[in-house]
């Protein structure tokens, strides 16, 4: 049984102008220990695929026309809200793009971490290293201990003191580390990271990627890394899926796809990366290349 198996996923979104189909037959299979990069332009449906895995698209705006998502055998699209909550935070961790807006500004870092840890422990007390019949106070105290541990693990110095600080007291890179801590504290089996480094500068970006890589090795989890940065994919991922206009054009091990891209779009995407040798005026947009290819 695969960790995650998406088969023929078709999603339509409603707006004032009517319903538009966004995802056209997405197929994707992720196993433990694999780091998948999902690349594509803005609006190609990467993020919506990621949100669909945790079923976070509100029923009022999104409608699945066909297809299925199976996470460790659970049928995500037909599960109850209760079953989904068991997965979220505990089995599936999520990190979003902007660390400045994804932490609740009115609460201490520790409060948010502890709540996520307590939630994960509801379904699996071993997350806190406790047996099932621990008292509320014991669980709170254990959750705090685990939170401090987790902050240390993502590279926050003095976690015992920093746990009671507020998000605005940290830099962007630090906040992204905290979001990773929040996503990882429930010991998930799948981590979905939606452009986790886009809002960060290059050196911090490298640190964060290294951190994610380390956590994957340590815990043998599967990762879906949504990004439009092919450099990130080459650096971190074992597999890659290329998305364009709601379709997956090409999937495979990262070396194969980046070295011998079989699809014209993937070649266009690769050609759109400037190198040191690119001369002024030589860099071409994806649109031009695709137009030439017909």
């Amino acid at each position: 049984m695969s960790l995650l198996e998406i088969t023929n996923l078709n999603l339509a979104m409603r707006s004032y102008e009517g319903e538009t189909q966004i995802l056209h037959g997405i197929d994707l299979k992720i196993e433990r220990g694999e780091i998948w990069g999902m690349v594509g332009e803005t609006g190609s449906g990467k993020s919506l695929t990621g949100l669909s895995i945790s079923r976070l698209i509100p029923a009022a705006t999104g409608r699945y026309l066909a297809g299925s998502i199976r996470f460790e055998g659970t049928d995500v699209l037909n599960a109850t809200e209760r079953e989904m909550r068991k997965l979220r935070g505990r089995k599936i961790g999520m990190i979003f793009q902007d660390p400045t807006t994804n932490l609740n500004p009115a609460f201490r870092i520790g409060t948010q971490l502890v709540d996520v840890a307590l939630h994960a422990a509801e379904h699996d007390p071993s997350v806190l290293g406790l047996s099932g019949n621990a008292s509320r106070r014991e669980r709170r105290r254990a959750a705090r201990r685990v939170a401090i541990e987790m902050l240390g693990k993502v590279g926050i110095s003095d976690p015992i003191e920093r746990i009671d600080a507020y998000p605005h007291q940290f830099s962007g890179g630090m906040r992204q580390r905290m979001l990773i801590a929040m996503a990882m504290i429930g010991k998930p089996d799948l981590l979905i990271a939606d452009e986790p480094t886009t809002a960060l500068d290059v050196s911090v970006q490298a640190q964060i990627l290294k951190l994610i890589h380390q956590l994957v090795l340590e815990r043998d989890i599967g990762v879906l890394m949504i990004t439009h940065n092919l450099g990130v994919v080459a650096q971190l991922c074992s597999h890659v899926a290329v998305m364009y206009r709601g379709r997956i054009l090409e999937t495979g091990p990262v070396r194969t796809v980046l070295k011998q891209p079989s699809h014209a779009y993937t070649r266009a995407l690769l050609a759109a990366i400037p190198t040191v040798h690119t001369k002024r005026g030589e860099l071409r947009g994806i649109g031009d290349i695709m137009a030439e290819a017909g």
Binding site: S54, F96, P105, F107, D115, V116, H119, Y166
Partner: protein
């Protein structure tokens, strides 16, 4: 924190000083002679002159202001020309009634407004949302005195379950005075009869006053909750499995409170300054009624006194709101 409070309190002094100049000038420069009114229409010039001398009205206005100001800091807020009672004592008598009314109205508005606004945001465009929206619109649009009359018609004339007006039955003895709030005093002394009676008297005027802050709090709370619900961090919290109840009552509520707090602070002072109409309709012996009578008889000492008291309460409530911002928004605290 304490230094901040002290600094803010010290800032009150120049503000009140400036205000006292303005109010004193306006009250004294208005046409009409309070001494003439006090002395009566048939007073001889000699009597008039003696009244003017008695209240110091014959001195030049700047000197009158100086006398007033030096008295003010010593707790002498002047004497009412009509009742010949010290203004300070009058204010001490009437202020608790008004504060109790405003506090009750705000309590109703906050206790009902915050959950209703929250619910209207969560079930947006649902039945509750439409009902609160309609009632809110009515609440803002309807004058308070008119609402007071409607309430009297409904609860007194038709249902006959609440007293028409006043603060306590004239034939009864109000509870022993501790705070001057009848409800709190009767609670403190364990006088359950007095509690029931004072609550019954308080209900209609408080309700009449609460509707417009209630309406505004609902609208404010609804708008800010909707805004907070769309924030990225709420999506993160949902994605990590926190229950909708925890997210709403803990993580959303605290963020949504900040803007609602501003409205609450503003309404406290707005109600204080505008109790006159409701106090008149319900014959509520408060500051508003006292001030109106003083204005109508050009009795300027009480007018200035009441204005200063309202200003002090206004500035203090703003200070409390600013301090509460820090509770709800940690970013404010550090700056």
């Amino acid at each position: 924190m304490i230094r901040y409070v002290i600094r803010r309190l010290l800032l009150l002094v120049p503000m009140l000083l400036g205000l006292s100049v303005i109010v004193f000038a306006i009250a004294r420069l208005l046409p009409g002679d309070p001494a003439a009114l006090a002395a009566g229409p048939n007073a001889t010039p000699e009597v008039l002159a003696s009244v003017q001398r008695e209240f110091g009205l014959d001195k030049p206005i700047p000197l009158q202001y100086w006398d007033y100001l030096t008295g003010l800091v010593q707790g002498d807020w002047g004497v009412s020309i009509f009742t010949r009672r010290p203004v300070f004592e009058d204010i001490v008598t009437f202020l608790p009634a008004t504060l109790e009314l405003v506090a009750a109205a705000m309590l109703i508005a906050i206790v009902l407004g915050i959950p209703l606004g929250l619910a209207a945001a969560v079930w947006r465009n649902g039945v509750l949302d439409y009902v609160t929206r309609t009632v809110s619109l009515g609440g803002i649009a309807m004058p308070r005195f008119f609402l007071g009359l409607l309430l009297q018609l409904c609860f007194v004339t038709w249902l006959d379950i609440l007293p028409l007006s006043g603060r306590f039955p004239l034939i009864d003895l109000p509870p022993e005075e501790i705070t001057g709030f009848y409800t709190i005093d009767s609670l403190l002394t364990g006088d359950w009869y007095a509690l029931r009676v004072s609550l019954a008297h308080l209900a209609l005027p408080a309700l009449a006053m609460s509707l417009s802050p209630l309406a505004t709090i609902i609208r404010m709370m609804r708008a800010s909750t909707i805004e907070v619900l769309q924030q990225d961090y709420i999506m993160t919290e949902r994605a990590l499995g926190l229950s909708s109840r925890l997210i709403l009552f803990k993580y959303v509520l605290k963020n949504a409170m900040t803007s609602t707090l501003t409205v609450i602070g503003l309404y406290v002072s707005w109600l204080l300054g505008g109790t006159v109409l409701v106090e008149t309709v319900f014959d509520w012996p408060g500051l508003g009624l006292y001030a109106t009578q003083a204005i109508l008889s050009q009795d300027f000492m009480p007018v200035i006194g009441v204005t200063l008291v309202i200003a002090i309460i206004y500035l203090l409530s703003m200070l409390i709101v600013d301090l509460l911002y820090g509770v709800f928004n940690p970013k404010v605290r550090s700056s």
